[in-house]
Symmetry: none
Subunit: 415 residues, 2 copies
Amino acid sequence: MKIGILTIGNELMNGRIADTNSSFIAREMNLQGWQVETMMSVGDDFETIKTRLHYLLTFTDAVICTGGLGPTADDITTAAVAKAFDLPLYTDEKVLACLKELFIRFNLRWTDNNAKQAVFPQGAEVIPNPVGTAAGFVLPVQEKLVFVIPGVPSETYRMLPEGVIPVLRRYFPQPVRHSIKQTIKSFGLGEGTVDQRLADVNFDALGVSVGFYPVFPENHLVLIARSDSLEQAEKNMQKAVDEVTARLSDSIFGYSEKTLEEIIAEALTEKRLTIAVAESCTGGLIANRLTDVPGSSVYFERGLVTYSNEAKIQLLGVPPEIIKQHGAVSEETARLMAEGVRRIAKTALGLSSTGIAGPTGGSKEKPVGTVYVALTDGAQTICRHYAYRWDRKRNKLVSSEAALFLLKNYLQGKV
Amino acid sequence: MKIGILTIGNELMNGRIADTNSSFIAREMNLQGWQVETMMSVGDDFETIKTRLHYLLTFTDAVICTGGLGPTADDITTAAVAKAFDLPLYTDEKVLACLKELFIRFNLRWTDNNAKQAVFPQGAEVIPNPVGTAAGFVLPVQEKLVFVIPGVPSETYRMLPEGVIPVLRRYFPQPVRHSIKQTIKSFGLGEGTVDQRLADVNFDALGVSVGFYPVFPENHLVLIARSDSLEQAEKNMQKAVDEVTARLSDSIFGYSEKTLEEIIAEALTEKRLTIAVAESCTGGLIANRLTDVPGSSVYFERGLVTYSNEAKIQLLGVPPEIIKQHGAVSEETARLMAEGVRRIAKTALGLSSTGIAGPTGGSKEKPVGTVYVALTDGAQTICRHYAYRWDRKRNKLVSSEAALFLLKNYLQGKV
């Protein structure tokens, strides 16, 4: 099956926003074994949307459109698609009722232009939006399918697998094939290294397709095994997973969609352990990530962002002479920060970070990107040293990841 | 002048690489006052490249192609473009000599397939590559222009301004038009409300185009004024900005690309004020945002993520009876948290958040999304109450925004 992609929005055409949806859709289609033939992007222009859509349909079986479904006047995708096939528009009363309910629930003021998001071309099947106000739709035309979903990436990322792919499977049934999906998440190896280590694995021979998703600072692999029998698909997947595991070994932290902080949350909850965090260079990011998980108040007791030396001394009991002798960015300080926050918060574990996020503050001995993370359980304190070379925000992110990765390994008895 | 973009490469079609060239080219064209009409991406397929290129030329004056200029067999862009116009290929001896010289200089081994990079369609004008081996070219056909440059972003980024734009200016001389860009950022009004408030402004009559960019929880507007005279463009822009300011008034927090935290950083630095933060429901996100700005150690003294009641009592001196009487999520607690962290950190300002991020923990009186943020300077403490209704992560984000927005208003003397 051949797929076309049409991303719509003036923000794409003036270059303000780079189109990441097309690449995401292409990866997902590729994993399903479908071929993306052409991707196109156009502005919010009635005639252009119509014409380009017709053109894409001349050589594809389905076109997936994203963008232009907002309540504002410049968003015209639905109307343009309806016009392209001379279809009248109708208001879906069920969608309208849901929309109004959503506004009440979110405490937003209803304005009449929002009713636009309940309007669809006649003959369309609504594709619900689990994370936003703009529902999508699929329109069967000329034995082909036109999908329209929102352009907000977080909504596209949900609605493509949950709404679009099932409809594609229904309209274009394939010989009964079983497919299994398996995500493998890793941290600590560069994108190129992961690529190189896996270069000799013959995934094709195993009937497994591989998608590669670098999500800084993690690398995610998505494997899909397809076979006529479920048993064979499972066998093939197991072989492929074993090959990947043998090559990426300790850098792998998960075999599911769960985030690193979710994996940690489960382990902490299961082991009934509490934790307190003392951060310097990560500036609150470790605490923020740990508290992103619902129910984190069960294990997360407190987080201290001790940016100044005074805060490290006053709140964590780090002796001033240690900071003077070794510096605030040192293994000694990192260890004492973790031990101090654990002692004062009376938690099972203490986790810390100290480093130089940049762009300034580096020296020859301790350049920008120097980071120490430490973890203590009272009996032992483990400290790791890293030398990163990213920009400030990415140095913060990779440092928070290093701290959480250490914590995860500890919880899994790997350190 | 209308521009088409055609990015070429199998790595785009399977989603392994997201196309960033199109967005870069679009930005550059937009700044020149030229309109990108359609962007397209296709794989390294002879027929597809030919057909799509012809299609793009039916409604554009120039098409800029990137990708498929490598020495390997799968790169076929030059041959496909030549074939599209029935032109023979020739080897440019000067380019070939340069190429061989480059190989010697970089100590690379010459293999004959590299000679492919000196081959061009008859009638093409070579566009030199200052940073790589693949030269580009421009082919004038049917009073239109077809540009072909490499797809490696670092090469595209050099060859577009240095090679492509000068040729476009030569072939399509324009009346000198001036364009000015102005970003306006706001927080606190929904996307629909912003739209409605601006509905009666006739931007077209002012020669100003407007883009709406919701970046949760902010709304960004980008205005572009174009005129033959710079003075007129400036006048038009001022009028448009005044109209927007009159309608969005207090929700506007910035008139530039600067983030809210950058605006705050400048104000704190200028006024030589220090700040400490006590967070509950935002879980470290306020501290994380404040420390995203380089040099934040000058004003950011510490951040305390006091998730447990014990931490609020022990670290901030919030009296247990206040928490017992009013609850941890209350105006009283928020005020005492801000005052406590300021007192203990000895900073000029104290900022706090307390609320229920969800999905659990809500009650009838205090549902999920109930948030209090407070700011104190020692003389006065200001507290704001909000009722948000998003998911956990967005409740955290919008709460951190509300706290930072209050801080910004205080720093600008607006509270």
